[in-house]
């Protein structure tokens, strides 16, 4: 099809939407290392995982061989409420940059949760409901995941308890109110409501919390209350599986117009968006059918890929969660308080960690001032106010497009625009006032938290 036939936004028809998720692990020669029981040091069994996670999700978590897993009809019905998400040709950005590169972005922000997180939230809520549970618990940092989960739970009439990192709870009252509007109960973490919370508060009386600590609290509550399970919005294999809907839609849209990307760029915190976006492309790469540059972008203030170690580590501060083998900065690592937005988890999805370790993808880190510069430039020409997280990918997409301008190459760049920045305007205000700064961890800081890695 000739290029001038490519619309600004490519929407798939309902009939073209994915009916299965794609399980990237099935095509990996080197499988991601299994989750370990921190007590025994042995791989966790389905039995051991079921007090924490829903049964069906445990199956998905452990399934390394089934390439395609059917998306249940109820989830596909919900997906129809906000999917397909558009794949947008960034004509205006290209023109502004005066680049021969062709830039596309997959925009996941057009739903009330404001991000891609809803793709997995609805799946996890569905399986919880199907199992006859009363409710689920989770943690949230910047609030995207908590919002998505509260929407999903409201849809299936499930109780939803969100442990929200205290600093976000106080600084992001609006996120909190969205969750409450959807009927969730939101608790600032650390809280007095859990053993681990009381312990952390006793040890660090003034703490404003961390994601790792909120995870510990949510897991404790889920395992101690009958009829409850814990759900997590990133890092896990099951989450990457659900998020593959992003990449599958992207690939179908590109194929429809005969477009072959040269590189695929995504921001990476725990890896949920990146893992979902790249899934079918990485699949082709693993099967030797095609080659793409795949670039993970992380914040310089939380650089697990670029400065972390590939090792077994806890997923939480309280050290009650399973051990995962991943690129990690150590579970005691907390990014500088001046870091805006999400992407603040100390580790990275095991699957993506293995792929990175095997040289199948690249990683780059960027500082937040240059990220907000890219965000502003993008917003002004493309209309959408991007989330700080997503703007990491924008930054690198712009950098790559500018390289094309120098070399004259007409490369095709696809990046993931994971969400909108409506709840991040405190950070934008800082940037608008010229008060934003960059603070990256010293080698000593990273060495210190890595020194506390569990001895496996």
């Amino acid at each position: 099809m000739s290029e001038n036939k490519i619309p600004y936004k490519i929407y798939l028809e309902e009939a073209e939407m994915p009916k299965s998720w794609y399980n990237l692990r099935a095509d990996m020669k080197n499988k991601p290392a299994p989750l370990l029981n921190p007590g025994t040091g042995k791989p966790l069994t389905a039995e051991e995982l079921s007090p924490i996670f829903c049964e069906e999700l445990v199956k998905q978590e452990l399934d390394e061989t089934t390439a395609y897993i059917d998306i249940p009809g109820e989830i596909r019905d919900f997906y129809k409420m906000y999917r397909p998400s558009p794949l947008v040709r960034a004509y205006c950005l290209e023109k502004k940059l005066d680049t021969p590169a062709k830039i596309y972005y997959k925009f996941e922000g057009n739903n009330t949760s404001g991000s891609h997180k809803l793709n997995s939230a609805i799946a996890q809520a569905y399986y919880a409901k199907k199992q006859g549970l009363k409710g689920v618990t989770t943690e949230t940092g910047a609030g995207q995941w908590g919002t998505a989960l509260s929407m999903a739970c409201s849809y299936f009439d499930l109780d939803c308890k969100v442990y929200m990192v205290k600093v976000s709870y106080e600084q992001k009252p609006f996120r909190r109110e969205v969750m409450r509007t959807y009927g969730a109960s939101v608790v600032p973490s650390p809280s007095e409501s859990t053993e681990i919370g009381r312990k952390i508060l006793a040890e660090h009386p003034g703490t404003t919390g961390s994601l790792g600590c909120a995870i510990s609290e949510a897991v404790e509550v889920a395992t101690k209350n009958p009829g409850y399970r814990y759900v997590l919005g990133s890092v896990l294999n099951q989450v990457l599986l659900h998020q593959s809907v992003i990449g599958l839609e992207t690939k179908t849209a590109l194929d429809k117009y005969g477009i072959r990307p040269d590189m695929i760029i995504g921001c990476a915190g725990g890896g949920s968006n990146l893992g979902g976006l790249i899934a079918p492309f990485m699949g082709e790469k693993l099967r030797g059918e095609a080659d793409y540059r795949i670039i993970a972008v992380e914040p310089a203030s939380c650089p697990s890929f670029t400065r972390g170690r590939f090792a077994y580590d806890f997923c939480d501060t309280g050290m009650i969660c399973p051990l995962a083998k991943m690129y990690t900065l150590g579970s005691s690592f907390i990014p500088s308080a001046n870091h805006a937005g999400g992407l603040r988890f100390h580790g990275m999805s095991s699957t993506l960690s293995q792929l990175y370790h095997d040289g199948l993808m690249e990683a780059v880190s960027v500082e937040q001032t240059e990220v907000f510069e890219a965000a502003e430039q993008f917003a002004r020409v493309e209309g959408i106010l991007p989330a700080p997280e997503s703007s990491h990918a924008i930054r690198v997409a712009i950098n790559e497009a500018l390289k094309c301008k120098e070399t004259g190459e007409e490369k095709t760049i696809v990046f993931g625009l994971t969400g909108t920045g409506y709840f991040d305007l405190v950070a934008y205000e800082k940037f608008n006032n010229g008060e934003m700064s960059d603070e990256i961890p010293t080698d000593e800081q990273i060495a210190e938290s890595l020194a506390r890695l569990p001895q496996i």
Copy 2:
């Protein structure tokens, strides 16, 4: 086409998108009364209007006969960045209400300005640019219009000065920051930067401002600075013209699936959304080709249709703007401070006022607590967090659907979901905490402001 073929969301193809706006006045037997010069009491000429508005917009403002006006290619290109907006079948809401009614909503919130206001903002910015102007001035209350205009001006590289009602400037810092991110300068109104602002501040030292006062300031700055014009986001004929894109898309989408609505419901402040949504349907009604119930929904705290007078009045507090014949509560009317969100203008579009006066549409007023109840119910099943403004239409759509449940009638309801509520979470918080109250003006309050109507 059979009903089960109707998708959740109907998106038009690029080729199906409107190429002209529809000028409802062309089909009105009783034309809306002309704008009057407040000095002479005579209809304003194009010459008198051009120091305030762009030339092309003056032409559109005064044109009562051309039914279809081409949408310039540059505007259609911009429209493609966020249009077509989806027409959504509210399957989940219908199920929740257990109603035989079929409910559709046209969702205009999927752009960074968060509302339909962008449809006219981009048109007005385009004509300003085409005329070679340096910039435009405007006012904003809740902030939707100011945000939309700052996006449009950033796209065409125009200077944008926004007078923001002081109470919103202080209570909605995030809206302010979105505008600044798009490069607009935002001034709290009343300000010391204008004559009228200084006068109002001298007379009412502690005032937190009003829309009418911000309009006066913006008009003063536009007329005193060479290369600037004033733009307005509602009330005017030109704005209804641009907003007709909403109704045209809606009608095309309905026609595509052979759907005939029984009633069309929209919230009404100045009338921009309602006038746009109903345009082609009202056109059919005026030409005797079809009949629809058309329902304007206004807040009980600012009830211009239901409790105002059909008379000539000023559009602004400073009384420097033209006089418009409209349903009005008097230009000195200010809704109770506890009123959340927009829809707080004292008057109503002349065109809609004439249609209402001629019995061609209905109007109903609703109180804000019941509006937020509808908003919450809608959010929980349909996923979208609606703006308080839009939730007025949701309230009445739900009421009508519940009537159908009683009578067993399978009516088809279409309503306008004008925007999202991400910047209205202070109001949602009040509602979530059970602290929201209703405060409607007394007969005496309305009589008092009506007593000050100009003697025409």
